[in-house]
């Protein structure tokens, strides 16, 4: 707000910093605490008096989790499912987003709205039929099956976000390419996609993070270790095997590491995509 710089301003600035730093601590504090916990020996965690900083720094929690449980399998499964999901969305969603962005056809708005409304369907409503359907097709408890199930709520999001990025790429370049002799297909691949590359990456990352983090569908649609993903596995360990806090913390930290890295890379573009879409919607 364009204010005046008289004495009131200094007070407001101080207040702003208090608020921002307070919120930042509120947001990141719990994560940091968990990180600290993951480096603590059990005697530091299970004590009558809370120990704040670790008396000893240890990586044993990570080692134990990795070697004694099937955590590596879980991570690999999650990785495969996430990759499959992104690939499916990439191939089917990119061309759909392109069509929505570049072409005006009958029923376009309704269809776009339809894609949006689909996002509002309750997960629980779809989970049961999906369970039955996948079982009938033999894709239950299967990583590809789970990936396909994920596209049910991630594909509309993918198309919606990517369309926004395509809209921002100027149309004149494709017209110029077509005059130069390219087909529409050629124009799409050689011109638009390179320009919207940042948006494409950001959207893929967003979908990847959502697939990596997902719990509910995975819980319902996987039953055995062969295809179980890390959120289900980790929570199972807590519930059934009383996983010690240190190892739980370690597990959590391992799993959010990729998210943090990816997020840091594309954060700016993702935020732009989310806000632009919601504001226009």
């Amino acid at each position: 707000m364009a204010g005046t710089r008289y004495r009131g301003d200094l007070a407001i600035n101080v207040l702003t910093y208090v608020v921002l730093i307070g919120l930042a601590i509120f947001c990141v504090g719990p994560v940091l605490w968990t990180l600290l916990t993951s480096f603590k020996v059990p005697s530091d965690i299970i004590t009558a008096n809370i120990v704040y900083l670790p008396t000893q720094f240890t990586l044993q929690n990570y080692v134990d989790l990795w070697s004694q449980s099937n955590y590596p399998t879980l991570i690999i499964n999650s990785f495969i499912v996430t990759t499959l999901t992104v690939v499916i969305c990439l191939f089917t969603g990119t061309i759909a987003a392109y069509a929505f962005s570049r072409f005006n056809f009958a029923g376009r708005t309704q269809l776009m709205l339809g894609y949006l409304v689909v996002r509002m369907f309750p997960a629980v409503l779809m989970i049961i039929p999906l369970f039955i359907l996948l079982r009938n097709v033999g894709l239950l408890d299967n990583r590809l099956g789970l990936a396909i199930a994920y596209t049910s709520f991630l594909l509309p999001l993918f198309v919606w976000m990517l369309k926004g990025f395509f809209d921002a790429a100027p149309k004149e370049l494709e017209s110029a390419a077509r005059i130069d002799g390219s087909t529409r297909l050629g124009a799409m691949f050689r011109i638009v996609i390179p320009i919207a590359r940042n948006g494409l990456v950001a959207t893929c990352v967003f979908v990847a993070i959502a697939a990596w983090n997902e719990y509910l569908f995975a819980l319902m649609l996987t039953t055995s270790e062969g295809s179980r993903t890390w959120p289900v596995g980790l929570q199972l360990m807590v519930g059934e095997f009383n996983l010690p806090w240190g190892m739980l913390a370690a597990g959590g930290m391992i799993s959010i590491a990729p998210v943090v890295v990816l997020f840091a890379i594309v954060q700016r573009w993702m935020v732009a995509g989310i806000t632009a879409g919601a504001v226009k919607g």
Binding site: A2, T4, R5, Y6
Partner: protein, 362 residues
């Protein structure tokens, strides 16, 4: 007592000095125009007068009262913005009366004042509409209504006509002048349009890079510009600058702009005292409108026609005097052909001479 008095105003943004030592006095009922290109500091100066920005140094007095640290709402000023800044979620009536509402003026009084302002600006029929439903010109009036309703000591206008199309701009310009005549309130008006400055202002401050180039009434600025910047900024088409050497013959000065004897311009009616400049290089500023087709009078220029631009009411002719181009504004009937030799007679009383190195008027 002057309504506005600025002395030694300086403004720095970080390391950049945007305003360097501004001194201005505006008498009561005066219309001060801050004129200059983008980036010259005029809008910053206006913000400082309003109190939206603090000055880095210097004093501001409004109505004789020092207001350096006074909040904008207590300076008894009103401002009209380039974007009008009307509150989009409020109807026009509330927009106009907002300042009074914030000062806890009771509703009946407020309504009366709003009605009077609306009447003055002919927007009474719009009072219940929202800004989004108004045209550009109507929004402009509402913005002015909001300014006049509090009867302040000083109006501040920040390029209010820039967002309007040409025709509307002329209409609103007249409207503003009429308002000024009627209310006699002092006005500080920022613009980059020199036509607005000339027609509206009683005093014009031409600014460049944070410095006032000349502060005077429009007539003086037009006829006796203080330097080449001011001379070139005012007037359209722009003033021509002829590079030459000032010589004297039989006590009368003349300008030699070329190598041959024919390429010289006699300057019999020159106002300036240029005796110290004889034999030196000067820039002669000649306005396009002070040249006429023909060769009566002693001062003539002769050259080859390069471009002819008929505009309807005039014809702009670019003439090449040797290597130097000169634009002349001739009558609508003048139709010289490209490549013709043309002779122009010059009204030398209107010629200004400048120092080529400093650009200052001699």
């Amino acid at each position: 007592m002057a309504t506005l008095s600025l002395s030694g105003i300086r403004k720095k943004f970080g390391a950049v000095e945007v305003l360097k030592n501004i001194d201005i006095e505006l008498e009561e009922g005066g219309f001060l125009v801050l004129l200059g290109p983008s980036g010259c500091g005029k809008s910053t100066l206006l913000s400082i007068i309003a109190g939206l920005e603090p000055a880095s140094g210097g004093d501001i007095l409004i109505g004789g009262r020092k207001v350096n640290d006074v909040h904008p709402k207590d300076r008894n000023i009103a401002m009209v913005f380039q974007s009008y800044a009307l509150y989009p979620t409020m109807p026009v009536r509330r927009n106009i009366g907002f300042g009074l509402e914030m000062r806890k003026v009771q509703k009946p009084e407020r309504d009366e004042a709003v009605d009077r302002a609306a009447d003055l600006l002919q927007v009474t029929h719009l009072l219940d509409r929202k800004p989004a439903q108004l045209s550009g010109g109507q929004r402009q009036r509402v913005a002015m209504g909001r300014a006049i309703v509090r009867d302040p000591d000083l109006f501040l206008f920040d390029e209010p006509l820039s967002n309007l199309d040409a025709k509307l701009r002329v209409e609103m310009r007249t409207e503003i002048k009429r308002l000024h005549n009627r209310l006699h309130t002092s006005i500080v008006y920022v613009t980059h349009d020199q036509v607005e400055a000339m027609t509206l202002g009683t005093k014009v401050a031409v600014m460049k890079e944070g410095v006032i180039q000349q502060l005077a009434d429009p007539q003086t600025i037009y006829e006796r510009p203080a330097n080449t910047f001011v001379a070139g900024f005012i007037g359209s088409p722009a003033m021509n600058f002829l590079d030459g050497q000032l010589d004297v013959e039989s006590g009368k000065p003349y300008l030699r702009y070329g190598n041959s004897a024919a390429e010289s311009l006699a300057l019999p009616d020159l106002e300036q005292d240029v005796s110290r400049w004889f034999g030196k290089h000067v820039l002669a500023g000649i306005r396009p409108e002070s040249m006429h087709f023909g060769s009566e009078g002693g001062a003539t220029l002769s050259g080859i026609v390069d471009v002819v631009e008929p505009t309807g009411p005039d014809t702009h002719v670019v003439v090449k005097l040797g290597e130097q181009p000169l634009t002349a504004r001739l009558g609508p009937r003048a139709r010289p052909k490209r490549g013709d030799r043309i002779t122009l007679s010059v009204d030398t009383a209107a010629v200004s001479l400048f120092d080529p190195l400093t650009g200052l008027r001699l």
